[in-house]
Symmetry: D2
Subunit: 265 residues, 4 copies
């Protein structure tokens, strides 16, 4: 399926402020970016670099006044995300080096504190994909998904105490639980077609059976429509924008995801 | 200045053939890619990766039949490239690690064989930028630039024997000469506004005075209009496309570079 | 000064267990490793790789029974660590790309929660080195250094609540405070000559004035004798050993640091 | 088998000269470095870094006068190198990204010029390991191995013209032939136990059947005893030492490889 994404943000900047953005989508095994726009106004110099996780990031200094970022892309993805019940746990000594850092606890995923809880939730499930699926199901049934309720990121421990959260919060708890089982797990930030209400979204991927699989406890079932913008250990690594200064206000943010017909590309 | 680039290629493929492409431009210190299109027909899975030089590459298997690649971008660059007469040679022990590999001889730049010639050409010039400028001037005056005359890449030694070549050939000889003076030098493939006749272009960059500077012996003077697609030690590293198989024909290739007004972006 | 280090560990392993070790010291700007031993018994295959922070890591599967690791090195370091009162804060847009990830909050350094406290501690101090020094002094005066009291890592928030901790804990709080001021800060694990009681040690480095400087709130003053084993965002990234399994006991650990005369090398 | 290596070099330096050394062996899938010494006299600051191929390199400025480098290591390797007749060719679209650069022509391996010759030598052999073995056998039978005869590196084309060469030369021709068949191939520099006459050695590795295999046309048969120091596309990438200046003389070089009993480690 071909999707067209738009993410349009406007800021009010009171003093010149450095931004680090992560809004250039990359083509990968599961998505092909055939068109991309990335415009900023006013135009200032931008330095693009690749971070430790392979994301393309942009660094710039926004001047005083209104600052606008417009991004849009046409992306081809599969109609359905792959699922693999029974896909086995990969022993640590067999994991590719590139996934090892996704075993470690991180800012919002204190996996070193969830051993017992993860064991309890996944009891009786085969090691690997089925454990992750059990965790996703548990999250769906036990942590209320309340989009739009949280401004600042909270950690898995805090999510577990509140028993509710936004998409990012449910993912953080899911990641912490999976990592405590020694399953590499990462946060993905991106777009989801037909998300209600439409916004940027976050979900998680677990490495089982020799590859990454998609999980999302906020949806009643996983079908398709996921477009990744960035990957990381948690939301600390995958901020769509980080501004380093106290005097910036996000005034508006518009997110759209449309189905497009190939002929109209 | 804002430029719009187009590179459109069509191939005829007789047996399924793997391509490695380098046609996704990156934003960098000297260019901002505000819009980009990258379309292939028929649509096949594409895997994008970053090579040792930071270029984004695409790997795919083209099926039997016609295969088309269309890329286009809107890029902001400075009106004039920077020049820095007198910029000093950087001692090897002060060079950033990332530029060290550009000191070594490479496939088409046998810098280990040009010591005497480089010394002779640059005699009396200050070490650094002025040496490179002397080499560029020497190339312009001594090696005939004959666009469109060469199909296969030849090396600096061969270029020096023929005393003529395409843009890539002049650059290879320039690179070999600079490296023999221990100046890090790299090949750039990309677009040049108002190039006559219009085509993809190649030039070289030398690291002096703490940064990379642009040199191009094919033009009577360097002004501006350079858009980079890829960087590498020489043309072996920076092929716009590498096809691994004997049965592919490049049927057509169209390259355009247009000046665009910002309002029309 | 030349120092000889020894770190000798013995484990009892009940089921075959994967270890990821970080015990191969690297030579760097501040230390030269002239001799190194790294022995394991029983001998099993070891795969060495470089992590995201440049550390050399070793992955192996320890068999059932006793498992011993012996490392030793002869390292040349400066007699005194550099100090630089007045070294300025580096604006975010001027930081090298490689240090940007040290601005982010991490598992044990919740820098997103320390803005007010860091502002209060550093009030009246010049931005940069002097702020970090004020934080180090504050830690020394307000957080009791109690070596040997903690088994599991606790986070900066928890350290701040307890008002005491081991070397790692004081460093984590120091890092969280510095990062909340947008100063890149990292944890270092290694050896300290004449540490009392002798053990592996942890301290932190802050990037100000264009380079990394050493800070250590556990010592009444910083002189010299620091040898780094590994760097990372916090203790989650810099574990001397990570074992992935429940059935491993660290039976003994011996750490020594001796001054050696160059003639006896 | 446990081997002890020694490489001892002394230079006479007339003006301060930057060296880039590649003399720190790394542990890898096929070798475990249990002890290592790396001493330089006089002691100067050394900066160690990792190059594009994963080698540890050391950069330093040697002062005027005698300059000595002593390295030694104890390394565990398998008694026999693996061989795999019939191991298949890996299609380009299935190769890991990390091996793709070993498909390209390089300074001393002009693989773009050997298509017909490689096809002729390997005619009738199964694609993959058997092709490489046919090339190794052809080299052994057709290119005279004359250790100690060459000072400066010559390229595969030149080796083919001379019909003789040192270990590095035979490897370069082997690499060029393999790459022209789209088999990733790399040069290895290191030690070989019982090499006659003893010296540093060079051989090549080809990626077939999903991993790297060792080939060496200078020996009548490949058994074991290979210890790698560095990997690269060819000798331009894998110089044990590169000195950047005209006024350095290598006065003596001593290489030893001894079998050691494990008890004496």
């Amino acid at each position: 399926m071909w999707l067209r994404t738009i993410c349009d943000m406007s800021f009010e900047v009171e003093i010149p402020t450095t931004f680090i953005l992560m809004l250039r989508q990359r083509s990968g095994a599961n998505q092909w970016v055939a068109r991309e726009e990335y415009r900023i106004r006013p135009q200032v110099p931008v330095y693009e670099f690749t971070d430790n996780y392979g994301n393309l990031c942009q660094r710039l200094v926004a001047p005083v006044g209104p600052f606008e970022i417009f991004t849009s892309s046409d992306v081809l993805i599969n109609d359905l995300v792959d699922q693999a019940p029974g896909a086995p746990f990969v022993e640590i000594d067999k994991l590719p080096e590139s996934v090892l850092s996704y075993l470690l606890p991180s800012r919002y995923c204190e996996s070193d504190r969830f051993n017992d809880m993860a064991a309890s939730i996944t009891e009786g499930h085969a090691m690997g994909y089925d454990q992750v699926k059990a965790i996703e199901t548990w999250l769906r049934n036990n942590i209320s998904y309340l989009p739009g309720t949280s401004d600042i990121a909270i950690s898995a421990i805090e999510v577990n105490e509140r028993q509710s959260g936004v998409c990012r919060d449910l993912s953080h708890l899911g990641i912490a639980l999976c990592r405590s089982l020694s399953i590499p797990t990462r946060l993905v930030v991106g777009y989801l077609y037909e998300l209600e209400p439409m916004d940027l979204h976050a979900w998680f991927e677990a490495y089982v059976g020799g590859r990454w699989y998609t999980f999302d406890a906020t949806q009643s079932e996983i079908t398709g429509g996921y477009i990744a913008i960035g990957y990381g250990r948690d939301a600390a690594d995958v901020a769509i924008f980080n501004q380093f200064g106290p005097s910036v206000t996000l005034e508006t943010q518009r997110v759209e995801v449309q189905l497009i017909e190939e002929e109209k590309l």
